[in-house]
Amino acid sequence: MNTETNGQSLIKLEGVTKVFLTDEVETHALSGIHLDILKGEYVSIAGPSGCGKSTLLSILGLLDTPTDGQYVLNSRPVQGLSLAERARIRNREIGFIFQSFNLIGDLTVYENVDLPLTYRGMPAAERKQRVNEALEKVGMAHRAKHLPSQLSGGQQQRVAVARALAGYPSVLLADEPTGNLDSKNGDAVMELLENLHKTGSTIVMVTHDHRFARHAVRSVHLFDGRVVEESATTKEAEMSL
């Protein structure tokens, strides 16, 4: 994981706009987003369904490109990078955690966590050490040889978190990581993320459940593709929506 919050900008969005064109209908998923995320921050993104949260996350994760605007990651503008370059950055700098876990069903727990490291061409010995470390961190080392279908939802999500962690990314991007979990398992995953944050990870998490949003240090509110509110979250200053 990277350093503690030290005022260094990790993610900088300036006037980011995303327009989808389907059957000649324009959808403005994002309109002029400005966002600054510092290293070590824990940011939650909230807002109603369809307001552009996932779109924002996929732009942050270099899975999609903005229609307009600037994105600077780790003081490097990412516009105009080749596909291979983007894949490389995604592999090294970004860790994804999805609502539906998105583990690969034909791979074991161990192989799932190992997968992003193999794309990096990392030597086997180092990979092994990283995978074991990550699995231990999420408390899943004892299930390394299991297939995802043999695990509960909460366990699968913990494996997904381990997969995101294993490569020591600059930022973890989580899209409703608790959305498919019951509250007990959801709480456990949230606690896991909070611990990661305490040890220095930068986390951007989408959630429309403000029970969870309060875990974050800072909350960004989207409405209809725009940032309508930014606030430091405390137990008292909860979003009301």
């Binding site: 996932s54 996929s58 994760g61 899975l63 999609d64 596909l83 291979a84 894949a87 490389r88 995604r90 592999n91 090294r92 970004i94 994804f96 999805f98 539906s100 998105n102 583990l103 690969i104 034909d106 791979l107 192989e111 190992d114 997968l115 992003p116 193999t118 794309y119 990096r120 997969r163 490569g167 899209d175």
Partner: protein, 438 residues
Amino acid sequence: MNDLRYAFRLLAKSPGFTAVVVLTLALGIGAHTAIFSIVNATFLRALPYPEPDRLVHLSETGDSNVAYPNFEDWYAGQDVFSALAIYRTDGRKLKTPDSAEQIAIAQVSADFFPAVGVHAAQGRDLTADDDRAGAAPVVWLTHAAWQRYFAGDPKIIGQTVLLDGAPTGVAGILPASFHFHRSADLFVPLGPFLDQLFMRERGNRNGTYVIGRLKPGVTFEAARAQMTAIGRRLEQAYPKVNAGRGIFMQPLRERLAGEARTNLLLLLGAVGMVLLIACVNVANMLLARSFGRAREMAIRTALGASRRDLFRQLLAESLLLAAAGGVVGALLGAWGYDIVSRLVPWEMRALMEGTAGLDRGVLLFIIGLTLITGIAFGLAGAWAVNRLLQSQLFGVTGTDPLTYAGSALLLLLAALVACYVPARRAMRINPTEALRAE
């Protein structure tokens, strides 16, 4: 994880899908290879003689055989052939050191070896002195017969063997590379047998064939003009037996191919279609599957897989399928070859003797093609996935008609190549044309 290992695991996990794809490919490959091998051996490949396009089959019109006295007059009257030979085939009992074997012999006239362009590999060649009544009986062994009946004994030359009980001196052994287009284990001069076979009679054709080798620079047409004139003279000289009997000439290869040519080429076209349909079917199955796996590919992309990583993985899978299809196809092909070779007219079977079943070049070609098709499958899959990627991670699904059409087109092209190359080779040959051009 190793791409191949993962591919193997995936395919093993859906045995039904794998079996259908492999069998479809195997059928296409097998049928195509079997037919193409046979067409190649019989029509496309040159006859197994030096300068085969100079070889001509001659007969009396209205008969495939030639009476010996007529042949003698042809021989004396022409100057267009560097060698002109008459031969017939027969059976004999050969006494070997161990037992007696029923074998096939060819009785040939003096020019026979020069006509087919072969010299004895050991011993001496046949001379005009051997080919006359009362000459000491001698025999030339094919390499195969020498190995089979005399265990390749090098001291056999000059020794005497018994043919139907008649002591016959071994004069030579033919090279291993020589394969006559009719079955014959042994070659003996025809001359000593003329009387015994009543072949001095101008009406007796007695199963004979005539083969000629055009002199360098003499065209088929020029030779035909001269032979036609000779034939006409013989009709007038011997009206009783020769009336209406001119001289018929045909390039040897055309003669041998005969009617089977059309049938086999049609069959080749038909199995070409089978291969094409197989490829398109497999393409469909693989594409449907890769659509089903778009989500997995999207996950991999999110984890930082480059396009190359995805392609490599899909490639590993399709190559594995193509390789399995190739192996099973080769087996089916070998089996199909035996079946289809029964369609080949008997005159041509001997041509296939030098070739041990399936043509390795053809098989390699088809397998190479399957691999290319495999790469096309991989490409198409990767491309399809690439286009679908966006929506997958966040739950949207859907198929993309453009991708589908594009991938199908790509595969169709691969399949077309599979048919085009053999078809083009088949269409290019025209022995008549080739002979005339000389």
